[in-house]
Symmetry: C2
Subunit: 420 residues, 2 copies
């Protein structure tokens, strides 16, 4: 007999009928002989509704009170799920973050889990209960309620799975697994049977909204196998996420993602003095602005100046505009412009480590499509290119074809590609 | 500088505009120089909405999970109120039942408060916060969430006022105070400036839905002055509820209430043997059926039998029907009938203790109106008569006139009334 931790997202528990459906899925796992701990998100648009209520009252709610408000969403869905399981004749008990022993940092709206005291959960499992735990929340010192920020319920599930030494962590949602590319764009995109933590992480970071990177990182650290699967197709095993060492690597590129949530900022003609880049990125860091891609181009037009370009999240534009003048003052730039007309197209694959030429193939493919590359960034298992937004789908389709991310063909990419 | 505990009911916090209004009321009290602890109920119909969700899932929800579900209602309203107070520039912090230190019995959906550890509230008050506390909820052993049942938020407020040794407990709602009779029926009903705990208790028990008896009992035990006042008319002081010894008693009857929430049950021809009544009421008690008025009529038609009639809450009819056959078996009654066509008309007044003749005047008044009395019950400061439902308003108007509960006249009832 094993222990499975499951997580059901907001769409899976959006109304009472769907909650009954989830109850059946939970019981199915229990009947297969496993102990079950189920993490739930808030029902459908509950969180949005609560955020709207707060926004009617204040434009700058206290993070502590927002956590107090938002944490009710999961408390509602978990108690209803426990009732639905009871109704089908099985024992179930719901636990808040506090009751489940989830301790977080002393921080609101984006707390990290520090520790889980699993005593109460263990006791409930021993008493043969299916244990339902509120996702997205915990408590810090003095029983203050905290929430984990975006993707919090995934993180709760993985952290619980690790703390309970579960056999697997299943993330149920309305998608059937991880695809090679967005199936809404690339109609022939394939569902992956398995993917490595590293690839999943890169895909998550470059805009594939399947899993939050934090949850994948935690799973990777603890070697916790995860499954991404559909709560509406229970017989479909979805995609298994495991260690790269446990996978048979047969393709250099596993997946592709397009991210339109970023904007490019270009700061022109910064005097080329040591420390100017540091000044700039310190200013950004002080505003809590996360920067993604960075390019510095040297020695322009024989003037002793550089251009620096970088990308930030579209949602951070307001923050940036607040310090724009200050940046100008300090760096005496000739111009600062914000380019919203971009998309970041990324390919990800653990197999590209020892396959030279993947980057060159990517650039070549885009060139053949007459798509100009504005910025490039790479990691060991990822290559991202910034291009004009209108080319998003065209680039995705062309790259999927070249890297065989479409169709049923799972053969190797041919060998003689030029080295990057 | 004093300490005021306030409670705002569901209608007062029904939407974001009303929550802003409550925030102004809270700040008004704070600005008058007092420390303020504010207890809130769930917004408007939130609780009904949650109950409906549960009912879509199961017809017999676990009480524990219902408490988990329902306790979110107050958590939502309290965090929004804290935000609204912050928005107006004042410090506020919201606390769940657990955080506020409210310990209850180990029982769900109708727990009683056992103890309040006021440490956290005291600390927040010391730090100059307005403290918002979730009404209706607490925790029992192992941090299990409990709720207090009907009228729970009133009870939370009074219990907090007592534990904090507050100067007063103000219950704000959509009524402007306690009236001599229901103003919707008796247009000339007067708002009372003050009323004793004992009178308020009797009025609450006989169907005046202003305050839950439990909260009044707690206030009485602790001699905590309460005010019932309107959250929409802040300059109106409403009705003060105080000890009878602090009042100037100038009228024998303070108020009148009509209760249509009961039904009369008549059990005919029970053999007149010792112990039969005990058997009957034991059966009822085992089903958790609360009985109000009881009449036993002896030696009917020279048969050696009695009739026993009593009233129960309309909502308990199902429970009663389940044991009806059993009652018949044990008592061999000739007939058991349920009479839903009744209203209980009650007059209440601490002044009737040393004023003879009040009951007689009541019966006389009803007789003059040709209203037949089906049952009578009395306490030291209350007389209730059961009459046909259609006479409810007629009886109320006639009794208000006789006992001067209408108009602006606050003079004594004239002396020469016959003794009961």
């Amino acid at each position: 007999m094993g222990l499975i931790v499951q997580k059901f997202g907001g769409t899976s528990v959006a109304d009472s009928e769907k909650i009954k459906n989830v109850a059946r899925a939970v019981i199915k796992e229990k009947l297969s002989g496993n102990d079950v701990v189920t993490v739930v998100s808030a029902m459908g648009h509950t969180t949005d509704g609560l955020v709207k209520l707060a926004s009617e009252i204040t434009s700058k709610p206290s993070p502590r009170e927002m956590d107090m408000l938002l944490s009710t969403g999961e408390q509602i869905s978990m108690s209803l799920l426990a009732m639905a399981i009871n109704e089908l004749g099985y024992k179930a008990i719901s636990l808040t973050g506090l009751q489940a022993g989830i301790k977080t940092e002393n921080c609101h709206m984006c707390a990290r889990i520090l520790d889980i005291n699993t005593q109460k959960i263990q006791k409930c499992l021993k008493d043969d209960y299916i244990v339902i735990v509120a996702g997205f929340q915990g408590v810090c010192a003095d029983n203050e309620i905290t929430t984990l920020g975006r993707g919090g319920s995934d993180t709760t599930a993985v952290a619980l799975a690790c703390a309970l030494k579960a056999d697997r962590c299943d993330i149920y949602s309305d998608v059937e697994g991880v695809y090679t590319a967005d199936p809404r764009v690339v109609k022939t995109a394939k569902k992956l049977k398995e993917i490595s933590y590293e690839e999943m992480l890169e895909l998550a970071r470059v805009g594939a909204n399947v899993l939050h990177p934090r949850s994948v990182e935690t799973a990777k650290l603890n070697k916790m196998p995860m499954r991404v699967r559909s709560s509406f197709k229970l017989d479909d095993l979805g995609t298994l996420i495991i260690g790269v060492d446990e996978m048979e690597l047969n393709k250099p590129v596993t997946g592709l993602a397009c991210d339109t949530s970023q904007v490019r900022i270009v700061i022109c003609d910064i005097v080329d003095e040591p420390g100017n880049a540091a000044k700039l990125f310190n200013l950004l860091a002080n505003e809590n602005l996360s920067v993604d891609m960075i390019i510095q181009s040297y020695a322009r037009h024989q003037k002793n100046t550089n251009d620096i370009a970088f990308t930030i999240a579209k949602s951070d534009i307001d923050k940036f505009n607040k310090i724009k003048d200050k940046i100008n003052d300090i760096l005496s730039a000739s111009n600062i412009f914000i380019d919203e007309d971009i998309v970041k197209v990324s390919i990800v694959g653990a197999g590209m480590i020892d396959r030279p030429g993947i980057a060159a193939t990517m650039f070549d493919t885009l060139a053949k499509e007459n798509i100009n590359i504005k910025m490039i960034s790479t990691s060991e298992i990822k290559i991202s290119c910034l291009v004009e937004k209108k080319y998003s789908n065209q680039a995705a389709l062309a790259l999927c074809k070249v890297f065989e991310l479409d169709g049923a063909n799972v053969a190797d990419v041919k060998g003689d590609l030029p080295v990057l």
